[in-house]
Symmetry: C2
Subunit: 156 residues, 2 copies
DNA sequence: AGAAGGTCTTTGCTTGCGCAAGTATTCCGG
DNA sequence: CCGGAATACTTGCGCAAGCAAAGACCTTCT
């Protein structure tokens, strides 16, 4: 009945970092989402899907890669793409060489929609996050947290 | 027809910081939540409610203050406390001097539950977040993001 | 007092999203 | 070439959570 070794409790710095991460994220995202939703009728997740697509070669991505990029479950992405497709912002395309995979492709309409939403998103990110941080802090965050958000993006 | 002045686009550092924040948060929280849920049957939000209560004077907090602490909408907190109360982990108590306010108070059973979940949560925070960061990075994150998660906790 | 207006919490309704199971397709050992 | 395992996506279902409105209560002004 040996129990797994207990971790040492969080010291003050560790506690502060952990809380800062979840609290700040929640607040920033909540505000950003509210603005994007009310001014442009787009979810933050939807925006990010469009944004990722627009930055990809041929403006399309495999469903599974896209899911990893926006950190959404497969089923979650399916529904989201369903909606975006219903709005004509995205199109599904089957892969020619592997009939299992589906590409989500940004339509022209989707691209225009993204361009419309871009300023709102940009302003929000600045107002709610970046304006509160110094360049040094920005660099520190990117360096510290960046690696935590990575997992091999189907390097096949 | 003058449009509001557009913000300058995000440079690479800003972009990296923003993405790092949302991606890392999503991944860390997702994993932590899965562990806590499967091993202890507690949502992360539920855990944090219990944790905040246990650290408060008399182990109780006003609903609205608690909502701010865990960054949840008022209605969201009501439902969550409903469940916790149904499980006997928390009790509601009306305030004697102002009948509008309700306190959520940690029960003995709730405290024990929290103690049981604590090691799992602790291990998760270490494994998924803290172990990947240096002390300097921890300090930088706390300092940079800490202020973003604050709003006057009813200093009445 | 009484009414008007603000504050705190709770309900009605709706949506987003994860897990588990299902379907379609590809890959691989025999 | 066939059958089993693996992969990629999609549906069934349930739960968590937000908004808007309602209900309960305090405060203040007339």
């Amino acid at each position: 009945m040996s129990r797994p070794p207990a971790s040492p409790p969080l010291d003050e710095r560790e506690m502060a970092a952990w809380h800062a991460l979840i609290r700040s994220h929640a607040r920033v995202v909540r505000r950003l989402e509210a603005e994007l939703e009310s001014e442009q009728g787009l979810t933050l997740q939807a925006y990010e899907v469009l944004a990722h697509l627009s930055e990809s070669p041929e403006r399309r991505l495999r469903m599974s890669d896209l899911a990893a990029l926006v950190v959404l479950s497969p089923s979650g992405l399916t529904r989201l793409v369903d909606q975006l497709a219903a709005d004509g912002l995205v199109e599904r395309a089957r892969c020619a060489t592997d009939a299992r995979v589906v590409y989500a492709a940004l339509t022209e309409k989707g691209f225009e929609r993204l361009q419309g939403a871009y300023p709102v998103h940009l302003r929000g990110v600045r107002r709610h996050l970046i304006d509160h941080l110094t360049p040094r802090q920005l660099a520190a965050i990117a360096e510290a947290l960046g690696p935590l958000g990575v997992d091999c993006p189907t390097a096949s």
